[in-house]
C-alpha cells in the first residue's frame, strides 16, 4: 500500500467512526480529491463533512478551531505546508492557546495536515519543512507521517490528546510503499516509535522524522555494507514534545530536512544529551538542509536538501571522529 493510500484510509476511518469529524481544505471534492489525491473518495462518501474551501488558509484553520471548540473533530488539509504561515494566527494564537488560556483545559480535537518538503521541483514557496516554527508552542503537538506506522493509529493518538496537532506529511512519501525496508533491516514499533535495524546491537543511532526515513534507511544500508557499522534508525511519530528512549550507544545522529537553527534536531540533541550523556562518546551530530531557500531546478534542489549521501557522510564523520 502506498503512503497516500494509507493516509486516505485513515481519513476514511476517522470520518466513518466519528459523526462529528470534518475534513476541511482546498480542492478536496471528488474527482480531484485534493492536490495530492489524499482526500480521494471522502467527499463522495461524506458530502456534508468534507468541506472544500476557497483559497483561505486563515479562515479554514479558524473554522476548524471553531468546530473543535464546539466539540467536533476537525481535520484540516493544507495544500502545501508552506501556506501554514497564513494560518499561523488561528493555529498558534487561537487554537493552541485556547486549550489552556481560559484557565480550565478545553479539549480541542484538531489536526492540521501539511504536505511538506522538497524533492519535487516546486520551488521556494512550495517545498519547505516548517517543523521548527511549530516547536515549543504551548498546547500544540507536532507529529509526522512515517512509512512504518499506520496513519490511522497516529490519528487516534493525536485525537486522544484532545489538543491541536500538526501532522507533517512529506510529499515524497506519498508514492512510497508502506513498511518497505531493504534486507537485512526490519522495522518494529514500540510506544509510537518505529525502530529500523538489523537486530544486532547498534554502534550508532540515527533519529529521523518519517519524511527523511527513506533516505535514512538508504544511508544506514550503505554504512552497514561499506563500513560494517550497524546503525539503528529511530523514527518517532510524535516529534514534539520529544520523548525518546534509546539503547546505550556511543553515537547519535539526527537528520531532518529543514534548515539549521532552532530546530527539532536541536531539541532531540538536548533531550539525548540530558538522558543518555553517560553513554555518548561524542555530542549528538545534527544533519540539516543547507541554509538556503529551496531552488526549483532539480539539480540545485539536490544541492540544498538532505540526501542519503549527506546523512551517510555525517554518520561516518561522527563514528570516525
Amino acid at each position: 500500500m502506498r503512503v497516500a493510500d494509507n493516509i486516505n484510509a485513515a481519513l476514511h476511518s476517522v470520518l466513518a467512526g466519528d459523526e462529528r469529524a470534518y475534513l476541511i481544505g482546498e480542492d478536496l471534492l471528488d474527482p480531484y480529491g485534493g492536490a495530492f489525491k489524499v482526500a480521494r473518495g471522502l467527499s463522495t462518501r461524506f458530502p456534508d463533512r468534507v468541506l472544500s474551501t476557497p483559497i483561505s488558509e486563515s479562515a479554514m484553520t479558524g473554522v476548524a478551531a471553531g468546530l473543535a471548540l464546539a466539540g467536533d473533530t476537525a481535520i484540516v488539509e493544507y495544500m502545501f505546508a508552506d501556506f501554514l504561515t497564513l494560518g499561523f494566527d488561528p493555529l498558534v494564537n487561537f487554537a493552541a492557546k485556547s486549550v489552556t488560556m481560559y484557565g480550565t483545559r478545553l479539549p480541542m480535537r484538531l489536526i492540521v495536515r501539511c504536505p511538506s518538503g522538497g524533492g519535487r521541483g516546486y520551488g521556494p514557496t512550495h517545498s519547505q519543512t516548517l517543523t521548527k516554527h511549530l516547536i515549543g508552542v504551548p498546547g500544540l503537538a507536532v507529529f509526522e507521517m512515517s512509512p512504518f506506522r499506520d496513519a490511522a493509529e497516529v490519528f487516534a493518538e493525536m485525537l486522544a490528546l484532545a489538543q491541536p496537532c500538526v501532522f507533517v506529511e512529506d510529499k515524497i512519501l506519498y508514492t512510497r510503499r508502506m513498511h518497505a525496508v531493504p534486507h537485512p533491516f526490519t522495522a518494529s514499533v514500540r510506544d509510537g516509535v518505529a525502530y529500523v535495524g538489523t537486530g544486532e546491537p547498534p554502534d550508532l543511532v540515527l533519529v529521523a522524522p518519517g519524511g527523511t526515513a527513506g533516505r535514512a534507511v538508504a544511508a544506514l544500508h550503505r554504512l552497514l555494507i561499506e563500513d560494517e557499522i550497524a546503525g539503528l534508525l529511530v523514527v518517532p511519530s510524535r516529534l514534539y514534545p520529544v520523548s525518546l528512549d534509546l539503547p546505550p550507544v556511543p553515537h547519535v545522529v539526527v537528520a531532518e530536512d529543514g534548515t539549521a537553527g532552532g530546530t527539532w534536531g536541536a531539541e532531540v540533541a538536548q533531550h539525548v544529551h540530558a538522558r543518555h550523556f553517560a553513554d555518548l562518546a561524542a555530542p549528538v551530530t545534527l544533519v540539516h538542509a543547507a541554509g538556503a531557500v529551496i531552488p526549483a531546478a532539480p539539480h540545485l534542489e539536490r544541492e540544498v536538501l538532505v540526501t542519503a549521501g549527506t546523512i551517510y557522510d555525517a554518520m561516518v564523520r561522527t563514528v570516525r571522529g
Binding site: 476557497p54 483559497i55 519535487r120 521556494p124 514557496t125 531552488p295 526549483a296 531546478a297 539539480h299
Partner: protein, 297 residues
C-alpha cells in the same frame, strides 16, 4: 508616461505576435512535460494570452508588474525573452533567476512573481506607495486570479490602496475556476461588488482584441496614475489544465470554451508559423544548454 504611440498596423502586428508567441510557448511547455523533459509544476495561461498583451501596452518602463503562478504570459508580454524564461523553467544556463525561482518566482527590474496566492497584493500596494513618491505617474500592476480573492490579504491591500490613493492597477484574470474549484463555489458575490465595497473603480472586460481593450482601459489607467486605483476584471477561459494533466472538467466543457487562436492563426498564418518556429528554436537552443549555476547566494 504612456508608451509612445506606434502606428496602428505595427501595433496590431506586435499584439498578434505577442499573443502567438505566448500560445506557442505554453503549448511547447506542455509538450516538454509530456515528454518528461520538465520537472516540478507549471501553470500555462492558454486562453488568457491577450490579457497581458493588452495590459503591457499600457505600461511604461517605470511601472512595476507583480505576477502570480500563471505568469508566463505576463513575463513574455513585458519582456521579449522566451529564452530566459524557458531556461528558468528548465533550470538551464541563461535562466532569468538562475533556476532558483522556477516557473513561479521570477524577478527582473520592474517585475516580480510569487507562488503564494494573495501575497502580492499588499506588496504591490507598497511598491505603489514608493512609486507615488519617487516616480510620480508610475503605477504598480498586479495580476490575480478569481480564486485568489479567497485570501484575506487581498482585502487588507485593497482597503489601503483606496485609503491612501495608491497608483495600483489590479488585473483580475477571472477564468471561472481555481485549480478544480468553480468560482461559484468559492466566491460569494462578485468582484465588482467587492470593488464597490471599498469605493474602488472597477471595469469588466470580455473581448480579446488588445487594441480595443487598451482603448477602453487607457483613460482609467491614466486615473490610476493619478492615485485612483482600478480593478480591471477580464473574463477569460482557462483552456488548459491547472498545471499539467489535472483538469477534472469534462472534455466537452473545455472544448466549448471560446478560443481566439483559430481565427487569428487563419488571419495571420505566416506570423503564426513564424512564432511557432521561433518557439521551436528556443526549445532546441535552451534544451541543449548546460544546467543553470547558482553562485550569488
Amino acid at each position: 508616461m504612456l508608451p509612445a504611440l506606434v502606428d496602428a498596423p505595427d501595433q496590431v502586428r506586435a499584439d498578434r505576435a505577442a499573443m502567438l508567441l505566448i500560445r506557442h510557448f505554453e503549448t511547447a511547455l506542455l509538450d516538454l512535460f509530456a515528454r518528461g523533459e520538465l520537472s516540478g509544476t507549471t501553470h500555462t495561461c492558454l486562453g488568457q494570452e491577450h490579457v497581458p498583451v493588452a495590459v503591457s501596452g499600457l505600461l511604461g518602463p517605470d511601472d512595476h508588474v507583480l505576477s502570480n503562478h500563471r505568469g508566463h504570459g505576463h513575463y513574455l508580454a513585458r519582456f521579449d525573452d522566451p529564452e530566459g524564461l524557458l531556461a528558468e523553467i528548465m533550470g538551464r544556463a541563461g535562466a532569468v533567476c538562475h533556476g532558483v525561482g522556477g516557473s513561479q518566482h521570477i524577478h527582473r527590474p520592474g517585475y516580480l512573481s510569487t507562488g503564494v496566492q494573495g501575497e502580492s497584493l499588499p506588496v504591490a500596494a507598497g511598491l505603489a506607495l514608493h512609486l507615488r513618491r519617487h516616480r510620480p505617474g508610475a503605477l504598480a500592476c498586479v495580476y490575480i486570479g478569481d480564486g485568489s480573492w479567497g485570501e484575506g490579504a487581498v482585502y487588507e491591500a485593497l482597503n489601503l490602496a483606496a485609503l491612501w490613493h495608491l497608483p495600483l492597477l489590479v488585473v483580475v484574470e477571472h477564468n471561472g475556476i481555481a485549480q478544480s474549484t468553480p468560482t461559484g463555489q468559492a466566491m460569494a458575490g462578485t468582484v465588482a461588488g467587492r470593488a464597490a465595497a471599498f469605493g474602488l473603480a472597477h471595469t469588466r472586460i470580455t473581448g480579446t482584441d488588445p487594441a480595443a481593450i487598451r482603448a477602453g482601459l487607457a483613460p482609467l489607467v491614466a486615473r490610476v496614475r493619478a492615485g485612483e486605483p482600478l480593478i480591471a476584471e477580464f473574463h477569460v477561459p482557462r483552456l488548459g489544465p491547472h498545471s499539467k494533466g489535472d483538469d477534472t472538467r469534462p472534455a466537452e466543457q473545455v472544448a466549448a470554451l471560446p478560443d481566439w487562436y483559430p481565427a487569428l492563426a487563419a488571419a495571420a498564418p505566416e506570423l503564426d508559423r513564424a512564432q511557432r518556429d521561433r518557439v521551436a528554436r528556443v526549445v532546441a537552443d535552451v534544451s541543449a544548454r548546460p544546467p543553470a549555476e547558482w553562485t550569488d547566494r
